[in-house]
C-alpha cells in the first residue's frame, strides 16, 4: 500500500505509561533522535513522586512530553498531538490534553478489566466508542507483537514484555520518519554486557517500525524538517546538567576549587550527582547530614576560599534560611540554588512551580538582602549559574539562583558556548596590602562594589574573627551601636543594589511601547515569548520583557513599564513578581496565576491578553 509523506512544522508527543514502562527512557531516545535530525525541541518529563506506585494505578503514571519543530520554539507545548498511552491509567490522566483529532496510540494488551477498573473506567474506552469521535485511535496489542518478535530468543516473558516501549518508539520513528540507528547505537552501549537485551530491544523497535510500514492501519507519515538554528556546535542539554556545567565553568574561570555541599532533595539532587562525578575538575562534593549542614558547610568552604555552592528545593531552602542570614552578615561569596517545586510543605515534589520568589528575596529574619537571579530555559541554567558565581565573587555576597522542576528536568538543543567568551571572573584574595596601621580590616570595602576583602585562613598577618553578631564597619569588631547598625543595614542593601550595574539594558521583544507588555521571570519565558510571537503575528500591539535578575530589578524597567497601557505578569504562583512590580513602580500590573504544578501554556496567556485587550 502506498503511504503518503506529509510535511508538518510542529509536533507534540507525549509518552505515558506506568512507572515501570520506561517512558522516560523512550522520551529520551526520541529526543536525542530529533536533535540529530536537526529539529528544535523542548521537553518536559512528568513523573510521579512515588518511586514505583502500584502497577496500573493513576498515581503511578509517568510521562515524557517532547515538542519538536522545524521552527524556533520556546516551550514543551500546550496541546498534545500524539498520546502514547501504555495502559488505561495513562489514558485517564492525559487524555484531556490530547488535541481533538489527535493521534492516540494504546497498548491494547494493558486494557484488561482489572487495569480498567483500577483506572476508574466503567467500560473499555477502546471498545465503547467513547474516544473515536474525538481522537484517531490506534489500539495495538504491543505485548503480543513483541512476544512474537522475540519468540525464539529464550528470554523470560517478563524481559520480553519490558521491550514494548521500544515497539512504541519504533512506531513513532516510522510515523515521523526518524532514523533508528542512534537508538541502536545507544542500546549497544547501554547493554554492552547483555547482548540478548540489545537484540530483544532492537527486534521490538524494528517490529514497531515495520508495523507502521506494512500494516494498512497507518496511511500517512509525517516529516518535520530541520529547524533553522544559528550556526554552531549543538548538544541536547537538561537544565540540572547545564547548571552543573555552569558551576564548573565558573570554578575554572575563577581558578578556584569548587566545593559543593548538599542534601538529597527532589528535584535538585541531580546537581549533586553530576558534580560528584566530576572530581577531576578539582571539585569536592559533600553529602551533608541535613539541609542545614549542606548550607553551613559551604559557609565554611567560602570562608576558606573555595567557590562554594549548595542546591536544594523549597523545603530545604526553608531549613537553610537562618544560615543564609549568616552568609549575608559575614559577606562571604557563595551560590545557593533553589530548584523550585510545588509547595507548600512537601507539596508536589516532582512538579514545577514559581512560588519561592518571595522566599528567595525576603525569606530571612532581619534585613538580609541578597541578589536573586532566575534561569529562563534548560540551557540558560548554564549561563545563570555562571553569572551567579561571578556576581557572588565580585560583590562578596551570597547569590540565590532560582530554577524550577520544569527547567531542571526539561531539555533543549543548545549551542555550546565558548567558555573564553564568558565574562572573566577575577578573584583576588586579601594580602597584607589590605592592612591599616598594621591591622587587618575585614570590613574595609571596595569603593565601587562595597565588597569586603576575602582573607582566607592560612594567610599570615590577616588573622581575624567574623560572625553572626552585628559588626562595626571597617574593623569587623562586634558592635551594638545604633548608628553603626543602621549604617550596616543600608550598606548591605546598597551592595545588593549595586548589582544593577552588572545588568545589561533590558531587551524588549519587540516594540518599545504599546498596548500590552507581558512581563516574565524564570521558566515561563518560553510560553510568554511564544504567546507574544503569536499575538504580534495576529497584529496585536503586544511586547514581551523577561527578567533575568529579580533582585535587584534592572535600572530601566520602570521607564519601560510606563510605556505600555497594560502589563501582564504570568506566573506559576499567586502573583509574587506582580506584587513586587506594583509596589516598586506603582503600575497597575495584572497577574495570570496558574498553580497546577505544570508550565503555563502559551494559549492561556494569549487568552488572557485578548481578554485584557477586549478582542
Amino acid at each position: 500500500m502506498e503511504k503518503t509523506l506529509k510535511n508538518v512544522d510542529d509536533v507534540v508527543i507525549r509518552f505515558a505509561g506506568d512507572s515501570g514502562d520506561g517512558m522516560q527512557l523512550t522520551g529520551g531516545r526520541f529526543t536525542d533522535t530529533t536533535a540529530i535530525v536537526g529539529n528544535d525541541l523542548s521537553t518536559l518529563p512528568d513523573f510521579p513522586s512515588e518511586i514505583r506506585a502500584p502497577t496500573g494505578s493513576l498515581a503511578g503514571v509517568s510521562a515524557f512530553q517532547i515538542h519538536f519543530s522545524s521552527k524556533d520554539i520556546h516551550t514543551p507545548g500546550d496541546k498534545v498531538d500524539v498520546l502514547v498511552a501504555m495502559n488505561p491509567a495513562a489514558l485517564k490522566v492525559h487524555r484531556e490534553e490530547l488535541e481533538s483529532g489527535g493521534m492516540l496510540i494504546c497498548n491494547a494488551a494493558a486494557f484488561t478489566k482489572k487495569n480498567l477498573t483500577y483506572a476508574g473506567f466503567d467500560s473499555n474506552p477502546l471498545e465503547d466508542g467513547s474516544l473515536g469521535d474525538y481522537f484517531r485511535v490506534f489500539d495495538i496489542d504491543m505485548s503480543k507483537i513483541v512476544k512474537e518478535a522475540c519468540a525464539d530468543m529464550g528470554l523470560t516473558p517478563k524481559t520480553v514484555e519490558r521491550t514494548k516501549n521500544l515497539f512504541a518508539l519504533g512506531l513513532l520513528f516510522w510515523i515521523y520518519d526518524c532514523p533508528m540507528e542512534p537508538t541502536k547505537n545507544w542500546l549497544e552501549k547501554k547493554f554492552a554486557k547483555r547482548p540478548e537485551l540489545i537484540e530483544a530491544n532492537v527486534r521490538s523497535m524494528n517490529a514497531g517500525f515495520n508495523y507502521g510500514e506494512t500494516t494498512e492501519i497507518f496511511t500517512t507519515r509525517y516529516k518535520v524538517d530541520k529547524a533553522d538554528l544559528p550556526a554552531g556546535t549543538y548538544r541536547n542539554i537538561v537544565g540540572n546538567y547545564a547548571l552543573s556545567l555552569g558551576l564548573v565553568a565558573a570554578a575554572e574561570r575563577s581558578n578556584l576549587p569548587l566545593f559543593y555541599g548538599g542534601y538529597p532533595i527532589t528535584p535538585a539532587s541531580d546537581i549533586l550527582h553530576h558534580l560528584s562525578a566530576l572530581k577531576h575538575h578539582n571539585i569536592k562534593t559533600f553529602q551533608a547530614e541535613d539541609e542545614i549542614a549542606g548550607m553551613t558547610s559551604i559557609i565554611g568552604a567560602a570562608f576558606t576560599g573555595n567557590l562554594a555552592v549548595t542546591a536544594s528545593s523549597g523545603p530545604g531552602i526553608a531549613l537553610k534560611s537562618e544560615a543564609l542570614g549568616l552568609a549575608v552578615i559575614a559577606e562571604l561569596p557563595m551560590v545557593i540554588v533553589n530548584v523550585q517545586r510545588g509547595g507548600p510543605s512537601t507539596g508536589l515534589p516532582t512538579k514545577t512551580e514559581q512560588a519561592d520568589l518571595f522566599q528567595a528575596i525576603f525569606g530571612r529574619n532581619g534585613e538580609a538582602p541578597l541578589p536573586v537571579i532566575a534561569s529562563a530555559t534548560p540551557g540558560d541554567c548554564f549561563f545563570t549559574a555562571y553569572e551567579a558565581c561571578r556576581i557572588a565573587l565580585k560583590y562578596m555576597t551570597p547569590v540565590l539562583l532560582l530554577t524550577d522542576g520544569y527547567l531542571a528536568n526539561g531539555s533543549e538543543p543548545w549551542a555550546i558556548p565558548n567558555v573564553d567568551d564568558l565574562e572573566p571572573i577575577n578573584v583576588k584574595f586579601a594580602d597584607t596590602s589590605s592592612m591599616v596601621d598594621g591591622q587587618f580590616m575585614p570590613y574595609l570595602r571596595d569603593k565601587d562594589t562595597l565588597a569586603r576583602p576575602w582573607a582566607i585562613p592560612g594567610t599570615s598577618g590577616l588573622e581575624h574573627r567574623i560572625g553572626g553578631l552585628e559588626k562595626e564597619d571597617v574593623t569587623g569588631n562586634v558592635s551594638h551601636d545604633p548608628e553603626n547598625h543602621h549604617h550596616m543595614t543600608l550598606t548591605r542593601q546598597q551592595k545588593v543594589n549595586n548589582v544593577v550595574n552588572d545588568i545589561p539594558p533590558t531587551e524588549i521583544f519587540s516594540d518599545a511601547s504599546g498596548e500590552l507588555l507581558i512581563l516574565s521571570w524564570g521558566g515561563t519565558k518560553g510560553a510568554c515569548r511564544s504567546a507574544a510571537e503569536d499575538l504580534q503575528a495576529d497584529g496585536k500591539s503586544v511586547s514581551h520583557v523577561h527578567l533575568r535578575w529579580v533582585n535587584p530589578l534592572p535600572k530601566d524597567l520602570g521607564e519601560i513599564l510606563i510605556r505600555f497601557k497594560n502589563v501582564l505578569v504570568p506566573e506559576i504562583n499567586m502573583g509574587q513578581l506582580n506584587k513586587l512590580i506594583r509596589a516598586e513602580y506603582l503600575v497597575d500590573a495584572q497577574g495570570l496565576n496558574l498553580v497546577r504544578g505544570k508550565p503555563i501554556g502559551k494559549s492561556r496567556i494569549i487568552e488572557k491578553v485578548n481578554e485584557i485587550l477586549g478582542s
Binding site: G232, Y234, E252, F259, K284, D290, T296, F303, G458
Partner: protein, 341 residues
C-alpha cells in the same frame, strides 16, 4: 601552608594567641580558665597561628573565637561542626577547632556533632559542659540532671540527661576525652592530646557556671571529695583512685565494681586502662554522673582511623591522575553533539 610547615616553626608566646578584644564572661566563669589554658598550650603545639581556625556556635562558650588571635568564626546555634567541616574539607592543612557547649553541641546541634564524629574529620571539639543554658539565663540543658529546678522547669525537669562521652562513643568517635576547668595542667595535656590526634577529637570539659549552676562539679573539685570522685585515667595503668590510692575498679563479669586495695585485693586485681579498647571506654563512660562511682577523667578512647578530608582529597587526586585535570570546554563537547551550518 604545606610549604610553611616544612620551614622552621615560628616561636610564639601565649600573648600571641590573645586577641585585642575584652573578654566578657561573668567574673569567676570556668570559661576563663579554659581560654587561659588554651592560650598557654598553643605555643607548644607548633602550629603556625595563621593556620589555626576556631569555629563556634551560639552560647557563652561560643564567644571563645573572639578572644583567640587566630582565624575565627562565631556562627549560628549548633552549626559549628558543619561549618568547621566545610573549612577542613576545603583546606585540610588548617588546624580546625570547634568550641561548643552542652546546649549548642548536644541539643540544637546534636545532629551535626554525631555526624562530625562518625566522619572523623581531623577537627578538635572542645565541649564546655556546664549542664545549664547560661546565655539565655538558666534553663535546664540536655546534660542537666533529672528533676532540675530551673526557670523553665519550676516543678523539675523530666528529661533524662545525655552523657556526652557515651554519645561520642556511640557515634563512633575515634578520640574521646574529658577534663575539668579547675585542673589546669590536665586540661593543657588533654588539649595537646586532642590536637595530636589525627581524626575528630572530642574533649568534654566539665565547666562551672557560677551564676546559673554553681557547684555542678563540686564533688569533683572540692579537696575533701575529689580524690574519691575523680578517676584519673592513664593508658596502660590500673584504675586506682582515692586519697590513699587504696581503691580500684574491677570487673565482675562485665559489671564494674569498686574494690578496696587491702589484704584481700591488690593492685593486680584492678582493671588496666587501654585507650584502644572500646568495651573499656564504654564501661568507663557509663560511670558518668553516678553517685556510687568516680567520674572518669582523661582519655577514655583513642584509635587510629582514616580521616574524611584525606579520603576526599585522595578522590580528587586520583580522579585527576586517572583522567587528567578536567577542562570545561572538553566537558561541554562530550557526549553527542552535532553541527549546524
Amino acid at each position: 601552608m604545606a610549604e610553611t610547615k616544612a620551614v622552621e616553626k615560628k616561636k610564639y608566646t601565649r600573648m600571641d594567641f590573645a586577641s585585642d578584644q575584652a573578654v566578657r564572661w561573668c567574673p569567676g566563669c570556668g570559661d576563663y580558665a579554659i581560654l587561659a589554658q588554651t592560650q598557654k598550650i598553643f605555643p607548644d603545639l607548633g602550629e603556625d597561628k595563621e593556620n589555626v581556625v576556631f569555629i563556634s556556635g551560639i552560647g557563652c562558650s561560643s564567644r571563645f573565637p573572639y578572644y583567640m588571635n587566630t582565624y575565627g568564626f562565631h556562627t549560628i546555634h549548633g552549626r559549628a561542626p558543619a561549618i568547621a567541616s566545610g573549612v577542613k574539607i576545603a583546606n585540610p592543612e588548617l588546624s580546625v577547632w570547634v568550641v561548643t557547649g552542652d546546649g549548642d553541641g548536644l541539643s540544637i546541634g546534636g545532629n551535626h556533632t554525631i555526624h562530625l564524629l562518625r566522619r572523623n574529620l581531623d577537627i578538635n571539639v572542645l565541649l564546655f559542659n556546664n549542664r545549664i543554658y547560661g546565655l539565655t539565663k538558666g534553663q535546664y540543658s540536655p546534660t542537666s540532671e533529672m528533676g532540675k529546678i530551673t526557670k523553665s522547669t519550676p516543678f523539675g525537669s523530666l528529661d533524662r540527661p545525655f552523657n556526652p562521652v557515651s554519645l561520642a562513643l556511640g557515634a563512633d568517635a575515634t578520640f574521646v576525652a574529658r577534663t575539668i576547668d579547675r585542673e589546669t595542667k590536665h586540661m593543657q595535656a588533654m588539649i595537646e592530646r586532642s590536637y595530636k590526634h589525627k581524626g575528630t577529637s572530642f574533649l568534654e570539659i566539665y565547666q562551672n557556671c557560677l551564676i546559673f549552676n554553681d557547684g555542678a562539679y563540686a564533688s569533683l573539685t572540692d579537696k575533701e571529695t575529689k580524690t574519691d570522685k575523680v578517676l584519673w585515667l592513664e593508658d596502660g595503668q590500673p584504675m586506682i583512685f582515692g586519697a590513699e590510692k587504696n581503691k580500684g575498679i574491677k570487673l565482675d563479669g562485665n559489671k564494674p565494681e569498686i574494690i578496696e586495695l587491702n589484704g584481700e585485693h591488690s593492685a593486680d586485681d584492678v582493671l588496666v586502662h587501654n585507650e584502644q579498647d572500646f568495651v573499656i571506654a564504654s564501661m568507663l563512660a557509663s560511670l558518668t554522673y553516678r553517685e556510687d562511682f568516680p567520674d572518669p577523667i582523661g582519655v577514655l578512647y583513642s584509635i587510629d582511623a582514616p580521616t574524611y578530608e584525606d579520603m576526599a582529597t585522595d578522590q580528587v587526586n586520583t580522579a585527576i591522575e586517572n583522567r587528567g585535570v578536567g577542562s570545561i570546554q572538553d566537558l561541554l563537547h562530550s557526549g553527542q553533539t552535532w553541527e549546524v551550518k
